[in-house]
């Protein structure tokens, strides 16, 4: 888009409308390149003040919720005059609260169109947060009366929830890199950390300045494929280094120019999320890049991934969390030392230096990821079986003389993961999904047999193809027995193999167990409901693998 058109466009349509169009484009395109192009076009034409807010919103810096959704629902019902239960029906079909509101309000006449920018509404949200209900109501209802459907939708979203439009921080950064004259890693650095969209201008945030050189930049990660052959074929065991494969976030820790940067494998800058690491700014030597795993650990022992998940979503981390689930960095590899690129050196040499560095100081926020000593493949296979006890996903095999390559490569590094646990069971309840699965029955509850009874024990949502989901949806719609709100009880007929990573005792579930990462491994069309596993089988697994 050339500048001439851009100027014309910004005169015609409001900032809110541009943002609404952006969200529509982002959520309807499935290709990263299309999303990137939409963002580039947006950043080229939108008002600067709005751009700051868009960066803020897409990087998790939204204002506090000004109005709760119960009130918004009440006001909507009042305007259109439908009963509350009907709203619930609509919501369960649409699968998204903001969209349900926008669709229900689509007939509300636009009586007083205002061409306000995005920043106007966001600043208004902050203003009214502390006001009483009637002030809030007046603002919300009047705003609805000024907007078209797409605008209503984004307006509701801005108040109530997050935009699930599949835009990563990396995409935002790349789009900005095409708009402003800064490199991606500098932009990533600038938009991370503490800044306030109400007080920061676009120029302050991303103005061209040479003060910051490109020294935060990570190296591309070297990734492994899953081993697809018997390990014996890898050759002599002593050519290989074995390590535990940890279930955290793969990351790079960088210290250059006395500053610390932590990058995730998705190339998101996550330094601010983990205050545990701040001390490493003083402890690590300057000009160093480490590859490792960001993982919660107590006394050097990793904790389950769920603990980390609870941490990532938080903006403010409580003292309790810092005590109960402190984050540690399990270092795997050394990519840069003394500002020198070490990636071409053999693994053994890199590893030796890494051990030297880490052991030169003692801090619980970093440790070396231990090597596994083994003399034969049989011995290693036996050790691999104990992975689950260590909260590990299996074993990593790295050729001792391997260099650190770029991207996913075969040959020198292999993942040797443990097989998931599996159980055969029958689907008994189905509910409609949300987002791209709205109005489609994709969320299932499964049961095992206990004598003549069926006992539910887990839900699962993933693992099937879209085609399989469509077939099951078709079955559910024709074989439902009862309806409880959005949930249908289904004729117990479809058998599935559920795979999961762990099992624990739980008193929240009738079955007495809770599974870690359950998903549908296979639709067992070859099996009938008489052939599924029993509650006793589950209890046996709990005994064997439970923690």
């Amino acid at each position: 888009m050339n500048n001439h058109v851009a100027i014309e466009k910004s005169n015609e349509i409001s900032g809110l409308q541009m943002f609404a169009e952006l969200v529509t484009e982002l959520s309807s395109s499935t290709k990263t390149n299309d999303k990137l192009q939409s963002l580039v076009d947006y950043f080229a034409t939108a008002p600067d003040a709005d751009k700051v807010w868009v960066i803020a919103i897409f990087s998790g810096r939204r204002p506090r919720r000004a109005v709760n959704s119960r009130l918004m629902r009440e006001w909507c019902l009042e305007i259109i005059g439908i009963p509350d239960w009907l709203f619930t029906e609509c919501h369960s079909t649409v699968g998204d609260f903001s969209e349900t509101l926008a669709l229900l309000l689509s007939e509300v006449e636009v009586i007083n169109r205002q061409n306000e920018n995005l920043c106007f509404y966001l600043e208004k949200f902050i203003q009214i947060e502390k006001e009483n209900e009637s002030v809030k109501k007046k603002f919300i209802v009047e705003s609805w009366q000024q907007m078209n459907s797409k605008e209503k939708f984004v307006f509701n979203k801005l108040i109530t929830g997050s935009f699930r439009v599949g835009v990563s921080q990396k995409t935002i950064v790349n789009a900005l890199a095409k708009t402003v004259d800064l490199s991606s890693s500098v932009i990533a650095h600038r938009i991370s950390g503490n800044w306030d969209p109400t007080t920061t201008s676009f120029h302050e945030l991303l103005g061209e300045s040479t003060s910051l050189a490109d020294f935060s930049k990570p190296y591309p990660f070297y990734l492994a494929y899953a081993i697809d052959d018997v390990v014996e074929n890898l050759g002599e065991p002593d050519l290989w280094q074995a390590e535990w494969k940890w279930d955290g976030i793969r990351g790079q820790m960088i210290k250059r120019n006395k500053e610390l940067f932590v990058w995730s494998r998705g190339e998101e800058l996550m330094t601010e999320k983990f205050p545990e690491y701040f001390i490493l700014k003083d402890l690590l030597p300057d000009g160093i890049v480490l590859d490792g795993e960001i993982i919660p650990a107590l006394d050097g022992k990793p904790l389950p991934f769920a603990v980390l998940q609870r941490r990532i979503g938080r903006k403010n981390i409580s003292k309790k969390q810092l005590q109960e689930a402190p984050i540690c960095f399990f270092a795997y590899d050394l990519l840069e030392y003394n500002y020198e690129d070490w990636r071409e050196k053999p693994l053994t040499e890199r590893r030796q230096k890494l051990e030297e560095i880490i052991s030169s100081f003692q801090n619980k926020s970093i440790q070396i990821s231990e090597k596994i000593n083994f003399n034969s493949w049989d011995e290693l296979a036996a050790l691999r079986k104990t992975s689950r006890d260590k909260n590990s996903e299996g074993i990593m095999l790295k050729r001792k003389h391997s260099v650190y390559k770029t991207g996913r490569k075969r040959g020198d590094w292999w993942k040797w993961k443990i097989d998931p646990l599996t159980i055969d069971c029958v689907m008994v309840y189905a509910a409609k999904g949300s987002g791209r699965r709205s109005n489609l029955y994709t969320d299932y509850t499964f049961a095992v047999k206990d004598g003549e009874e069926l006992i539910t024990f887990t839900k699962a949502y993933s693992g099937l193809t879209d085609k399989e989901f469509a077939q099951i949806d078709y079955f559910v719609k024709r074989n439902s027995i009862e309806k409880f709100g959005p949930v249908r009880t289904v004729k117990p007929e479809l058998v599935f193999e559920i795979a999961f990573e762990g099992i624990a005792a739980s008193n929240r579930h009738k079955s007495g167990v809770a599974l870690r990462f359950p998903r549908m491994n296979r639709w067992r069309k070859d099996k009938t409901v008489d052939e599924i596993n029993t509650l006793d089988d589950l209890k046996q697994m709990l005994k064997l693998y439970g923690k």
Binding site: L86, V94, T100, S438, N439, Y474
Partner: protein, 346 residues
Amino acid sequence: MANLISFTDKGLFCEAGNFYIDPWQPVERALITHAHSDHAKYGNRFYLCHKFAKPILQLRLGHNHYQTVEWNETIFMNGVKVSFHPAGHIIGSSQIRLEYQNEVWVVSGDYKREDDGISGKFEPVKCNVFITESTFGLPIFQWKPQQEIYSDIINWITKNKENGKASILIAYSLGKSQRVLQAIKETTQTIFAHGAIYNMQQTFIDAGWKLNPVVRITPETPKELLKETVVIAPPGAEGTSWMKKFYPYSIGVCSGWMQVRGNARRRNVDAGFALSDHADWNSLITTVKETGAEKVFVTHGFQAAFSRYLNEKNVAISAEVKTQFGDEDEETNSPLEIKNEEAENV
């Protein structure tokens, strides 16, 4: 007195007249509201339908004993007075009115209120008992005027051309395709179509309809000819290797379900146009009121919600009825429908 229509496991049954309406199992005598495959099944001895529906029934079900009527023409079956009235859903779609011993029942079949220029303009029919569809019986479904949607489609096609892309419009071969083709005939000289749609269009043209012909895509159609063109395809073709030929392309789905973002996102389509051949929430309510029916049976769709709403708002005494029509996905591609579409293509 027994109800004039009872709900049996074979379908809607009129005992007094000894016939069924849109039965889903083979029967002696079937009255057919319209030719969609969930309403017109194979295997009945005798079919009564509107004259415009006959050519399509022949195409889909082969040679059978068909009798046709005009709209508002009266015939008697075992003393039951029967007439067909325009339903506006697709070409030849009708509501069926039954009168017996001073009681009038109307079966809506599927219907829409907006006149699309080819399906006949819907006429509300006064009755005591109304059996209505409810495919889009929730207040989230409120359609934009068709002209607005048509311009959205045309703008989308123009934009695709500018970007060097073909525009693939996904539409049901019977009904939606003819409507979309009418809407976009001005945009481009030649419109290409999948075999299922070509067959349908040709059937109508052969029957005397003044519809624009489409060019059938065959394995021999050269790829260069298809660059930046408009292609109409049935839901079954979406995501199959058949589409490779048109690359680069953009896919737009024409269906009432596209009103909800999730549906468009799930199907990984580039654009969704909420163009429906069913009544939206407000039209359903208007229609129920205009029939003056004191009793309303609600079938296929959001029957529980719509029926409850009619009762609570005292519009009519209403009950939901389970049928084998549509069941929430008349317009989505159920696996069975995909099979039908593909079968037609052979």
